[in-house]
Amino acid sequence: MYEKDGEKYFIVDSHMHYWNAAPSNWVKGAENYAKGWIECFHAYQSLGPKETHWPIEKFMAYTEDDLMKDVFEDGYVDIAVFQPTYLKEWYAEGFNTTERNAALGEKHPGMFIANTRFDPRDGDNGLDELRRNVERYGSKGVKLYTAEWNNGSRGYKLSDPATYRYLEKAQELGIKNIHVHKGPTIWPLDKDSFDVSDVDHAATDFPELNFIVEHVGLPRIEDFCFMATQEPNVYAGLSVVIGGLMHARPKFFAKVMGELLFWVGEDKMTFGSDYGIWEPKWQVEGFVDWQMPDDDELSDYQKLTTATKKKILGLNAAKLYDIKVPAEFLVPAQAGAPAAQESAQLVTDS
């Protein structure tokens, strides 16, 4: 919970991690990838305020105590959603698995939601594993990393028939939320690896599922925005947007927020700290204090209301995950602009 100027904010961190990238977990022969991956993540951290930077040693393997302090004690988070990333080609026990996350979550009842994941290239065994994870950990969401390497394959698409089979199974098991991360190594390499059109297909064909595109499809915000306007079940996950831009590039942060509010709308944007990349404390404080600047170039972007911020920081994600939020944090039902009505109109008119 965060309180500022008499307003109370219920904080759902809808995208965070508990990883182990220590050298002892690097797969023999794949050390360059394991090292390159975590160094790349660590460079992202440097886009946050200097006083929040960690040495690489801590960054590779922060502890349970670090996480509980940074996220809950100092970071104002009420509920945190674990998003696993396996990367077992490079990390022997996985980078950030369902089991590792859930083991920590079980020690702190009521504080975490343990999402799981699937990889459609894992065949029938993968379907069984998905079922076991949902049954054991009560997962309501999955994190899909379409660029993950798997046994010689460098990625997959959400629109692949094999993925549809998994999405059908996930839905049958009670999964509601599909968090999608795009990365730079999807097959085939001659296509744009960040292309989000496969999410468009899946979102149309699975209207009961919600698709939260993490990092708002960065670096393809334009394609993402245009899709999200037309698909009522596509959401903008703000991890990286706040962490990577708000401090380091405030003007571009303003533009990206302005575009997202226009195309996607404040009812479909969700905060995620991307911890351990960035601590939530400065992101929550900074975002509550933030306003669209008075700048000619930004003049036709929407200003943010307190209700906008409350929705983005927690209430939207609380709806996706059926989290009961105490009344003192709620906003009036009609507060703020309805999601992206103007942009939908624009598309219909042309």
Binding site: N32, L47, L189, L218, P219, R249, F252, D296, S343
Partner: protein
């Protein structure tokens, strides 16, 4: 012993300014991606390139290495060239592929089915959209209504570096770029935008520019962390 021929080096560096990151639509020289460029007395050019992360997309990386090779090889006084991408997970495949003039598909055997022309064109279209916003925004600020923008030709727009750049990108795509060509065209077909679609076209142009700018700012932030010393020749 390698002795650098400074006049040829200058020419080689000038040639490298024509090589762009297709995704960010900026020259690799201003982005800092050229780590070094030397030319021996025998005319052998050696160019080292580097990118913001170990996992930058290999297709764009390949295009930059191949374009740098072509640009430097064309410089008078350069008799042969070696262009090397450093510190990248696909360095070996890219460097060997470009050196062997093998093309992308062969360099990434089994992981790609087509060369990169379509990908390049796709990002040129994005550059045209972003460029449209850069050119139109001052006109809109000065009071131009959508219908007026629609009626404008490129020759009627006041000259600016942004306009020159937009014309170049359109020409690269094979779209009309002369004085009589309409300002607002569909980057896919080259056709003038329909009147009803102008507001959406301008909004798309704007979000495309915002996306490229945000992307560039993150890439340059990451680059500075990785190579805090900037670049040297």
């Amino acid at each position: 012993m390698t002795v650098t021929d400074t006049s040829v080096v200058s020419a080689a560096l000038a040639a490298l300014t024509t090589v762009r990151d297709p995704e960010l639509d900026e020259p690799i020289t201003t982005l800092g991606f050229v780590a070094s460029c030397t030319v021996s007395c025998q005319g052998r050019a050696m160019v080292r390139l580097r990118l913001p992360t170990y996992f930058c997309a290999p297709n764009f990386a390949f295009l930059m290495v191949a374009d740098a090779y072509d640009a430097v090889t064309a410089v008078p006084g350069v008799t042969s060239a070696e262009v090397v991408l450093e510190d990248h997970f696909a360095s070996d495949a890219i460097n060997q592929g470009v050196a062997a003039q093998a093309g992308f598909v062969k360099s990434f055997d089994g992981e790609a089915v087509a060369e990169l022309g379509d990908l390049r064109a796709q990002f040129l279209r994005k550059a045209v959209m972003a460029g449209t916003d850069l050119v139109c925004r001052p006109l809109v600020a000065a009071g131009a209504a959508p219908a007026e923008l629609l009626a404008l030709t490129l020759g009627e727009v006041p000259p600016s570096p942004e306009l020159t750049r937009l014309r170049q990108r359109r020409a690269d795509l094979g779209l009309s770029a002369g004085d009589d060509a309409p300002l607002l065209v569909d980057p896919q077909t080259g056709e003038r935008i329909a009147a009803a679609a102008v507001p959406l076209h301008l909004r798309k142009a704007r979000v495309t520019r915002a996306g490229i700018e945000a992307n560039t700012s993150i890439c340059s932030g990451m680059f500075r962390v990785r190579y805090p010393d900037g670049w040297t020749t």
